[in-house]
Symmetry: C3
Subunit: 451 residues, 3 copies
Amino acid sequence: MAEEKEEFSIRKDEEKNLNLLLRQLFPITRSLMGEGNRQTLDIIKDFLPLEIVEYPSGTKVFDWVIPDEWKIKDAFIANQEGHRIVDFRANNLHVVGYSAPIDATLSFDELRPHLNVLPDMENGIPYRTSYYKRDWGFCVTPAQYKTLSEIDDVFTVKIDSSFNPNGSMTVAEIFVPGKSREEYFVSTYFCHPSMANDNLSGLLLTAFLARDMLRHRQPEKSWRFIFVPETIGALAYLRHNQDVMEHTVGGLVATTCGGPGPLGYKETFLGDHHIDRAIDLAFRDRGIKPIRYRFVPDGSDERQYSSPGFRFPVASITKDKYYEYPEYHTSLDNLDFVNGAQITESLEIYRDVVGILDSNILPISVVQHGEPQLGRRGLYPSTGGAINQPSAKVPVEDEAPDIDAMSWVCFMADGSHDLISIAERSELHFSRILNATRLLDKAGVVQVGED
Amino acid sequence: MAEEKEEFSIRKDEEKNLNLLLRQLFPITRSLMGEGNRQTLDIIKDFLPLEIVEYPSGTKVFDWVIPDEWKIKDAFIANQEGHRIVDFRANNLHVVGYSAPIDATLSFDELRPHLNVLPDMENGIPYRTSYYKRDWGFCVTPAQYKTLSEIDDVFTVKIDSSFNPNGSMTVAEIFVPGKSREEYFVSTYFCHPSMANDNLSGLLLTAFLARDMLRHRQPEKSWRFIFVPETIGALAYLRHNQDVMEHTVGGLVATTCGGPGPLGYKETFLGDHHIDRAIDLAFRDRGIKPIRYRFVPDGSDERQYSSPGFRFPVASITKDKYYEYPEYHTSLDNLDFVNGAQITESLEIYRDVVGILDSNILPISVVQHGEPQLGRRGLYPSTGGAINQPSAKVPVEDEAPDIDAMSWVCFMADGSHDLISIAERSELHFSRILNATRLLDKAGVVQVGED
Amino acid sequence: MAEEKEEFSIRKDEEKNLNLLLRQLFPITRSLMGEGNRQTLDIIKDFLPLEIVEYPSGTKVFDWVIPDEWKIKDAFIANQEGHRIVDFRANNLHVVGYSAPIDATLSFDELRPHLNVLPDMENGIPYRTSYYKRDWGFCVTPAQYKTLSEIDDVFTVKIDSSFNPNGSMTVAEIFVPGKSREEYFVSTYFCHPSMANDNLSGLLLTAFLARDMLRHRQPEKSWRFIFVPETIGALAYLRHNQDVMEHTVGGLVATTCGGPGPLGYKETFLGDHHIDRAIDLAFRDRGIKPIRYRFVPDGSDERQYSSPGFRFPVASITKDKYYEYPEYHTSLDNLDFVNGAQITESLEIYRDVVGILDSNILPISVVQHGEPQLGRRGLYPSTGGAINQPSAKVPVEDEAPDIDAMSWVCFMADGSHDLISIAERSELHFSRILNATRLLDKAGVVQVGED
C-alpha cells in the first residue's frame, strides 16, 4: 500500500510538472529555426542536460539545404483607423511561418490570396508555413475573415520579419551509452509554435523519457534522444550522425501523445519489427487495445529515418494522432485540449516499450539437453503430481518461483529467441519473463547472449 | 466528354467486330489437326500477322507423339428409308472427334456403345473426342437417342473420315520483342469445333490482345501470343521453343471468357505469384470481385506450361469458366450463349493485366537518404501545414501532383519493390502509381532499374 | 461385407485384450524405479519382445542423477485401537511416491503437514511423489482427512519403505529398422501407480503400435518405441541413445489416450511440422475435429525430447488429455474411467498417423516436361471431353483409375513435395494419394526419391 501511494504521488508530481512546463512553453514562437527554438530548449535544459548543436544556414543535407534563419517581431492587419483586426501578438499562428516582410496598404482583393482560413473551424486559426518559397501570409478565424471581407476599404498590412543567411538551425540530443552497442532512439520535433498536442506533448514526453534513462544506473542498450525541427532537422541530424549510428536498430518518434482521445500507434514500415512487437506487448500487458495505424509514408520524421538509405524501423505511440483530431494544426490544439495527466498516460506506455526494448536479451540455457533440474536449485516444488491439476487448490506462496515463466525461458533459451519472442509465445507478461530470466541467471541456469 | 464518347464508340466497334468473327468462325470443324484449324487461322490472319508453323505427324513431343491428321467429309446415322436421324452436316459435334471411318448396317444394340448422350441436357449434343485410341462414335441429343432406340430396325451408319500419317499439326504465334528480355505469354487453343465459349472466346480475345500489342510502339517486356491445339499443341510448342523461352516469367491461358456469367480467374499454381497479384490489382482497380478458382492440375494448358520441367506460373481469367456452366462441352455453348460484348468485358481485364505486367518496373530513387525535396521541383505544395488536415477544404487543382502516390513511390524506390508491390501496399490504383513513377522519372528523382 | 465383419471382429478382440491387460496392470505399484515397473514390463513382454535395459542408481544423465531405487512393503495410519484409517494395501496412491520410512506415534497436528488431500474431490485420493527430496507423506480422501482430524488422540504412522543405492531404473524399447534411415519414435511412460488413463492407456497403446509394426513386413522408415519412467527415464534414454538417434526426425508421446472424452492433440513445439500435419490429415480423413492443444513447455516427455539440445518435434494424441479432466492424478482415474474401446479409438488415429509418416515418400515423375500420357498406359479414359463435365453422369467403374489423385501426384512430383503436401494441397484422402503414387510407380511414371 505504501508503495502504491508513493507511485501515485510520483505520478501526480509528474503531471503537475508537465502542466507547469506546458504553460511555460506554449506561448513561445517556435519555427524551423530561430530564437523561439532556443528559448524552448533552454527551458528543457533546466531539468535535462541537453547537448545543443547549431547547423548553419546554407548547409546541404542530402537533397535539402538548411534555409536562412527567420526572425519576426510583429505582424498585423489593421483597418484605416489603426485597429488591428488580425494581430500576431494575440496568437503567433496568425502569421504564416517564415513569412517574408511586408508593409503595404492593400484592398481585400489584394489581401485575399494571402489569407488562410478553415471555414468550418469556428474560432480556429489554421497553422501554415512557407519554409522553402519566399512568400507571406496570414491565418485567420472564419469570423476575422468575415470582418475583413465586409470592410469596404484598404488595410494596413505589416509583417516585421527578417531572414538571416548567417543564422543556424538548433538541434539537441542526449546520448546514453549502454552495456551493449545495440542502439535505439526516441526523436521528437519542436518547430511548431503555439500548439500543444502537436507537439509540446511529444517534446515533453521525450525529455521525461531521457531524464528517466539518465537516472537509470546504466541501460543495457544505448539510447539516443533527438530534439529537432521536423523534416529538415531530422535530415540534418542524420546527415551529421550517420557514421555514429551504425549500430542503431530503430526508434520511436514522439508526437501528438497528449490529447484526450484514445491511445494508438503508427506501426513501423515493417509492421512486424520487434519494435512493433514490443509496443504490442506493452499494450497487451496493460490490457489496452490501441488503435493501430498502418504505416504510410506521410506523417512525421519516420519519413526520414525510414527512407531507403536508412530504413530504421520507427513507430509512434500517440494519443490523438496527428491528422485524426479536428483541432489538428489549428489554434484549438491548445492547453484546453492537452494536459499533463494525458501526456502521463502515453509516457507510461513509452516507458514500458523502452523498458522492453532495453531489456530484450537473448537467454541461453546452460542445460541444453533436457530440462534443468530446477528442484535442486530450490526453484521447483519438491512434491510432484500437483502441477496443473485442475482440482488442486495449492496456496501459492507470494515468493513462489514462477514455474510457468521459468519453463518457457528454459525451453526457448537456445540462443535464438529473445525475451520479446518468449513473452509473445508464452502469452505471459513481459515482466514475468524478465524476472524469471533474472532468477535463472542468478541460479546459473541461463546465461545472457551477446546479440 | 468527347474522349468518353470516342472510347465508347471504339468499344462498340470492337464488340461488332467480335460478333462478326464469332459468326465466321463458329461453323468450322476444328479438331486436334486438320483443314478446319487452318481455315480458322486464315480468318485471324486477316487482321493479325500470325506466324504459322506445322509440326509433322509422328513427331515426338516429350511423353507424347503427334498423331495422324484427321479428315472428315460426312457422317450420319440413317434409317432404312435413308432418312438421316443424326447428321454431321447439321452439327459437327455429332461425330466423336478423330472418329475412324465406318460404313455399316447396325442394330441399335450394336450402335449403342458408340453413342454419347447427356440424358439431362435437352437439345444438347455432347462434345467427345478419341484422339489417341482409334475408335468411332456419335454424339446425340436425348431426343435423337430416344428416336434411335425406338426404331426396331437396323441403321445405316457411316463416317467418311480418313487419317493422314503425313499430315501435320498447325500452330501459330506472334512474338513482340520488348525493351527488356523479361517475357510473358498469352496462350489459347483452337481445337474445339462448333463451341463458342470453349473456345472461340479465348481465341478471339488472344488475337485482339496481340493486335493491341503490335499497335503499341514497343512494350517494356517481350510478349508471346500462342495459338495451339490444347494439350498436344502446347506440348509441341514448348518442345520447339523451350530454348528461346529461357527468359519467360509466366503467362495467361485465355479460355472460356465470353459467357454471360460472372468474371473469375483460376490462380497460378503458386497462388501468390505477381501474375496473380497483377490480376488482383486489375480487378481491385475496377471494383470487381472475381470468383477465385483455386489451382488444380486439371483444366487447360497450364497443365503443360506449369508442369515440373517448366513451372511457368499461368492463370486464366474467365467469364463462365469451363466445368462451371451447364452448357460446357455441348452444342448449347453457342452464339446464343456468347457474344462480343461479353468477350469485351473479359478483354478489358486482360488488357489491364497485360498493362500491369508490362509496365511493372522497379523504380530506384536518386535520393536514397531522406525524402527528395519535391517542392523545389514543383511537385509539392509550397504552403506547409495543410497536408491531411481533416478540416482543410483545399480546392485540388486538376493537374495537382499526386503527392500520395509520389510519396509511396519515393519511399519504396529502393530497388527491391516493383510497381505491383507499391500499388498493393499503398492501396492506390496501379495507374496512379505508374503515373507518379513516370512524373518522378521525368523530374530526375527516380530511375527505372533493370530487373 | 465379409471384410467389414472381419475388421469389426479384430477390433472387438483388440478391445477385449486391452481390457484384460488393463485389469492385470492396474493394481501394480509402479514408481520411478522398482519391482512394480519390472512386473509391468514382464506383462507387456508376453506379447511384445521388449529389449529391457537397467540404468544404475547414481548415473548422471545431463543435469540430473538417477536416484536410489525405492521399495515399499506396507504403509498405514492407524488409530490407537490398531484400526488402519489409511491403508497402502487398499490403494497404493495413499503413500507419496518415494516416501522415506517412518514408524512413529504422531498427533494430528504433527501428521497434518504430511497429508495431501483434494478437498473438492469426493472419494478421490490425490497422486503425489517426492522423488528428489527425502520426505514422507500420505494421500487421503476428504472423508479420511475428516476422520483423522476428528480423532483427539495420537496415531500410529508407519511407512515400511527402503532405498537401494545399488538399484537401477528399468527402461524398455523396440527398434524396428526400416528401408530408410529416417527415424521416428513413439514414447510412453509407465511410472505411475494405479491410474488408468495416466498412463496405462499410453503404455498399452504404444505396445500395440509396436506389435503392429513388428508384424508389418518392413516399414519404410525406422521406428523406435520407447518405454520409460517420465522425465528422468526419457532423459536417461536420450543420454544413452543420442548417438544412434542422429537420423531421428521426431515422434509422438503416448499419454492419457483412453478416457471417455473427446479426441485431441497437443501440437509439436513447431506447430506446423509434418508430424502435426500428418495428425491433421489423419483426423481430417476420418472426419474428426480434434481439440488442438497449443504447445506449452509443461506436459510430458516432449519437455525432454524437444529441449534445445534435441529439438525433436513431438506431439501427443489424447483422449481426455492430462490436466483437462477432473479425475486427473487421482484414484478416480481408474477402470471405470478407461476401457479398451476408448483406447482403440485413439489407437486408430495413432495407426493412421504412423502410417502416414511411414509412407510419406517423395515421388519424382519420370516425365518432368508436360503431363505424362496416362492414356497409353491405360490410366486415363480414351474418350475425351467428359472430364468434369457437370451434366455427365459417367458410371464410374470400381477399378477406374483415380485421375484426380494421379494428376495431383504427377503435377507435384518434382522431388520437392512429399505425399503429405500433396494430400494437403489436393484435399484428397491421404490413402488416395498413396494409392495413386503406387499405381504410377508400378506404371513406371513416378519414382520414389530418397529423402
